[in-house]
Structures are given as structure tokens and as C-alpha cells.
Amino acid sequence: MKHLLSIADLSAQEIRAVLDTAVSMHEVQRRDVKKLPTLRGRTIINFFFEDSTRTRSSFEIAGKWMSADTINLTGKGTAISKGESLRDTVLTIDAMGVDMIIVRHPASGAPRQIAEWVDCSVVNAGDGTHEHPSQALLDAYTLRAALGDLAGRHVAIVGDLTHSRVLRSNLLCLRALGAQITLVAPPTLMPSGIDSWSTADGFATSYDLDAVLPTVDAVMMLRVQRERMSGGYFPTAKEYAVTYGLTARRLALLPEHAVIAHPGPMNRGLEISAEAADAARSIVLDQVSAGVAVRMSILYHLLAGEGNDQ
């Protein structure tokens, strides 16, 4: 593995290897001295063209705990605001001798384009409405920790599917691990062409959350991305919350063992109620906690071995 651009580039075996290493990295997270020498002398640039709390900070913490030098750049405050092209900017960074660029960009496909330009490793930390592979890996890690092997497990992914890069990565990742998936959303938020997609990739879709919930092992609520919406997807927030939100009433429909996940940030009262977010079966904070361990594992698999030397 040199780049992490899409879950589709990974074999099931590679996904499992990343998750297994993350178990060991999670142990490091509980130590007093959270420092490994593994990536000493490596330089990682976090290049974020969109806002982020957990992804950027957890990639930065992961790099620092493994002794890499990490530097943060944003779209603002770089030469891009003076009119430099993305290509020239990343070539400049690459020419400084960095080992990895972790990029978040509003344009789908930007990380793959960057990977073609530069010599260093590139990690996709979220591109437009395309993919967010590190999130999918940490979601799979957290679900596996809660449920055991995911083969044959039923996971419902609910909410704003059209705008969700988390959905695409999660779908690929969970399918690779053998989970059964049902996507639930109002018709306006189902991605177009979902029928041919679902047939090809072997997952189900539904408009009826109440009917799906009793059969799941996990339900993953996706954020309603109001910043990407120009309106018209649903009449009111209240109506969305009643028809597709994980309300206190719907909590009772879940099987005893089922867990609740949300990649964050949460819109409490919209797609997820406070009762659900704070329930004992909610693994939302476990997902955040796993974020650093899984990203350490990603850095390890991309940067540590010989095949990854430039």
C-alpha cells in the first residue's frame, strides 16, 4: 500500500490487516507514554481544504504518537489564495521532501489527482461526496469491537446518503468484511442510480426505517449535510426527525444487542435524538477513540515498510 485513496483499492485481507494493527495501536493509546519511534524522521502534511475537527486532529495525533513530524496546512493562508493552482501547491510541498500528504478537498477525486502528480504517499481524508476511507476503517474497527466478526451481520446506514462520502467508503468496507447492508433514506436523499448499484454490489435499500430497525445488528446514522444542500430535500427539519431520525421511540425497535453508530459531527434532534446518542448502546465515542488508533495503523501500513520507500 502506498496511497489510501479509496476503500475500493484495498483487498479484504488488507482491510483486516489495518484493523488488526489498530488493535495494538489502541493499546498504546492507553499507556502513560504515548509515543512510538516507528516513523522517526518522516514528515506528514495535513492539507485540509475543508473544516474538520476529528479527522484532522486524529491524523495529527496519530502522526505525533508515531514520532513523525506533522504540519497542518489549510486552503486559506496558503499560496492557493494568491491564485496558485492545486497542482503547483502540492508539487511545491512534494519538492520539500515530505513523505505523506493527507488531503481533504471539496472536489471528489482531488486526492487521486494529487497522487498522480506527486511522489509521496497520499491519504484521502474526505473528498467531496466521494469517499472517506479512514472513517470507514475506524467505523468497521468499532463495529468489529462491539459485535465481533462482521460476516453476516446486518448494518443499516440511514440518512443523507446523497451527500455522504462516509456512505460510499463504509458500504465498500463493510461489504468487503461480509456484512449485510440496508440503506435507508427518503427518496430525495437516495443517490441516483441506486437500484443498479445495489443490484451490482448486493445490498438492500428501504424508505421505511421502522421496518428495518428490528432486524439490524448495528444502525449507522449519517449526518444531514445542510452545508451541501440547496434546500428542497425534505419539507422541515422536524418532519425529517420524525420520519428518519433515530428518536427515543425508535430506540425500542432495535434488538437488545444492536449498537448505534454515528461518524459525527451529530445534529442532535435532527438525525439522532439525545436519547439515542447518549444511550448505553451508542458507540459514537468509541468511534472517536478508535479514530487515532486506526489512523496510526494506516500510517504504519503506508509508511513503515520497505515497499513504501520513495
Binding site: 500500500m1 490487516a17 488488526d20 494493527t21 488493535v23 495494538s24 495501536m25 493499546e27 499507556r31 507514554v33 509515543k35 512510538l36 519511534p37 516507528t38 508515531m66 504504519y300 501500513h301 513503515a304 515498510g305 520497505e306 515497499g307 513504501n308 520507500d309
Partner: protein, 192 residues
Amino acid sequence: MSSAHDAGPGREVLTSDDISRALRRIAHEILEGNRGAQDLVLLGIPTRGAHLARRLGDALRQVEDVEVPVGSLDVTMYRDDLRHQPTRAVEPTHIPPPGVDGKVVVLVDDVLYSGRTVRSALDALADLGRPRAVRLAVLVDRGHRELPVRADYVGKNLPTSHSERVMVRLAESDDGDEGVRIAAPPAQEGTP
């Protein structure tokens, strides 16, 4: 036990029974050197070192009827050769609850060769706490040290040439097969 069937290449230098005897002797030596079992912690280096540490823990129980904490210490993240090899799988580290501060830690590995694994283990240990003393127990010492490292407890000193391979097989990790064999070189060097 398994020495009857002569599977695999090379010459058998330790049988399953030899391994058991060596571990029993090492258990006696550890107790003698430490004047009992107080403050002892056994940490095996995965994978086979971890199995040997567990067996050594069993041997200590048989010899002196004491329960010595046994754990495993993965050193992958501390290796100095990561960039010269394909990405290695990371094995679990498990430190028994009392920790290592003030303890006498006995590191356990299958083969002592260049000494680089042990150096990595000492670095890993330093990140976990400050043991009162660190000892090293190995099943086989095959020589060719590249660092100033020596073992305190050795199952068998095995003079080898650089090009030979030493293969340790333990029932826990090698489908029930067990024994130490030494073989002339094919493609790769031994498995330190």
C-alpha cells in the same frame, strides 16, 4: 513426542523433550538468580517468544508453586529494519496488571542472533515503565551478535554460520509440530 517423524529440511538439534528440559532448567536458574519468584514478570516477544514465556511460567509454577505474571511485548514498532522489509504484521502487547515498574522483567525469545530484536525490546520496555532489572532468556543462542547484547539464560548454544537457518517450531504456532532444526541456506537468512 514429535521427534519420531523427521519432517522438514536440515538437522534436528532440539527435540520437543529437549525444549521442555531446557525450559525446566531455565526456570530453576531464574529462581536461583532471583532468590525466589518475588517481583518477577515474564514478557515473551511474539510470536514464539510469547509461547515460550507461557511455558516458562508453567515451569516456574511446577518448580516452586508460584504464580509469575506472564505477558507479551511486541517490538515491531521499535525495530530498526522496518524500512528494509515488507510491512510486518503487528502482534499484541499484553503487560500483566502490576506493570513493569520496579519489577525484574525476564524477556523471553526463541532465537538470539544479531541482538537487534532485544535492543528493540529494551526500547519498548522503557516506554512502558522502569523495571528494576531486565534479564534475557532464549531457547537458542546462535551467535553472530551485531550489538553488545548477551542472554542471561540460554536453552542451547548453537554455533552456526551466517548462511545457515535456525528454525524453531512450537506446538502452539506450528500445527503441533515441535523442535529446533538447523538447515543450510536457501533464499533467506534465519528468523531471529
